[in-house]
Amino acid sequence: MKTLKYSYLLIFLLFFISCETNSDEVQPTATLEINISHLVNGEPVVFNTKRYFNAVGNEYNILEFKYFLSNVKLRNRTTGALYLVPESYYLVEPTENEHIVKISIPGIPKETFNELEFALGVDNSKNYSIDNIGALDPSSNMAWDWNTGYKFLLLEGKFFPANSSETRGLIYHIGSDANYRILKFPFAAENQNSIVFNANAMIKANFEVEISEIFRTPTEVDFETHNVVMFEAFSRNIADNYANNMFKFLNAVVE
């Protein structure tokens, strides 16, 4: 009953506030859609059946690939405007049938932004919690356990060594706070370097993820020595690789 009274008070207050802006409806908002096309060597990723070669000539395939994209922000470096999408944690997982993953984010307030930011991984505040829900639900096999936190990026496949008939596993489970990477993508000249997020507009930010970059730059990885990467110091090199060049921002399209 008490909450009800407070609600009335709140509605009353809102009414007054909204009168000032001369509108008694909820402000319409824009939607940001992040589209990510997952590629290996420039072609849509094919799981299981396709064999690939990395930069040093190791032959491999991919059985599973997924990662956390989180803490999406829109920023205007000129005006200082900043919008953090609340509770923005997404488990991105291309599948056999669909190499493009779409993340739809409604509720972006009307504003002019010139930079999109997100992180690869799970930030410290959520990384060690036992009761995370949604994309962070521990049943996704992205949680190691509650002391170790989440795998930020998981890539599993097989490595076929040149000198042996026996197949090895290719296992990259990258996590831990030190490997959390923030990525920033300024809007390009074709968008006049900034985009107005008008009410009811749909802004599509199109990305490519080149999975093979995990093994390429700046550290060229040889699976003979690094077919399994989890907790060891080398995981830092892998995080640097996926932060460096894996995401390619193609364009932003206003619809």
């Binding site: 299981n48 059946t49 059985l63 599973e64 997982e93 599948t95 036992i130 009761d131 995370n132 829900i133 639900d137 521990p138 049943s139 996704s140 096999n141 949680a143 190691w144 356990d145 599993e156 496949g157 097989k158 060594p161 000198n163 042996s164 008939s165 026996e166 197949t167 090895r168 596993g169 290719l170 296992i171 489970h173 077919n227 399994v228 989890m230 907790f231 060891e232």
Partner: protein
Amino acid sequence: MKSAINRGIVGVVLLGMYACASSDSIEPEQPFAPVPYPLKTPYYFGNNFQIPEENPTTVEGVALGRMLFYEKRLSGNNTQSCASCHQQAKAFTDNKQFSKGIEGALGVKNAMSLSNLLWTKRFFWDGRSRSLEEQALMPIQDPLEMHETLENAVAKLQADADYPNKFRLAFGSDSVTAENIGKALAQFQRTLISDNSRYDQYLRGEYQPTEQEQLGLSMFQTHPIPEIGLRGGNCGDCHVGAMLSGELTAFQGFHNNGLDTDETLKSGLQNVTGNPFDKGKFKAPTLRNIALTAPYMHDGRFNTLEEVLEHYNEHVQRSQTLDPLIIEASNEIVINGASIQLHLTHTEKEAIIAFLNMLTDSSFIQNEAFSNPFK
């Protein structure tokens, strides 16, 4: 007489208005008003489950499902119920390698333990069923199991003195249907939540594990990395989270765990997907109450937990679809071409088994709500 007829007419009119019922029907004693069943789920299991909109869990539906779970008339010769092979005291297994059906023939897969099915998305060892509603009707019709037609099962229940009213209370109609049999069984099975093992108590901060259990837990959850001296048993790679079952997304909870070579490997998940890359993959079952559910594996080939650990430690067979995490599970640096071995010490194996014993949930197997209602 006249007034009686008048009252009768008034009655018919009222019934027609309010219930659209025919004039000769008897007003039911209890109205159809199913009460939502309060499913209590521990927060650390997560919320990755969906109850079908068309089959909400209700007190009446669960009560009916419990009766049906123990109802032998669902079998061809009225001798077996679901509970014949899924016995509560054995965490809903029968401790047999293969179960005998009503005609004495043996099944081809080990009867699975039932718990925390609310979160399960694919059923059977090969994942061929997508829902509990669908799954529940399959063993009834399987010639190697209860071997009854749905038509006969429905007729038997319809002719019973009590069931039609129980179906009405749960689903609004006293016509027994196969669909509602499946729904009621599904509702009951969603209530089979096991969350009070010593492991749960540990997760809730109510139990301090022994040193051995602590080591077992750590070994269980860790994938070994010999290069940095990190030792592990590699169990948690497939038996994930607090439910210790396979991953819930699509078929990611299905793995080839190296039981057989390419020549002898059973098809498993390939039966369902048709994908040769899924050959020999089977559902990673929950390990809850695992100490109560011997024998182990889809074909019940191992009688003890010790034998299971021996398998993962030194008897993994190579094949095309062998899980990469198992290929790379070793506590010693792997040289290309070497056989697959975990290299666990005796102490570590015993610790893992101590941890597995922590998963026994005695309040689950004694819960009156899951027991035979006819006793």
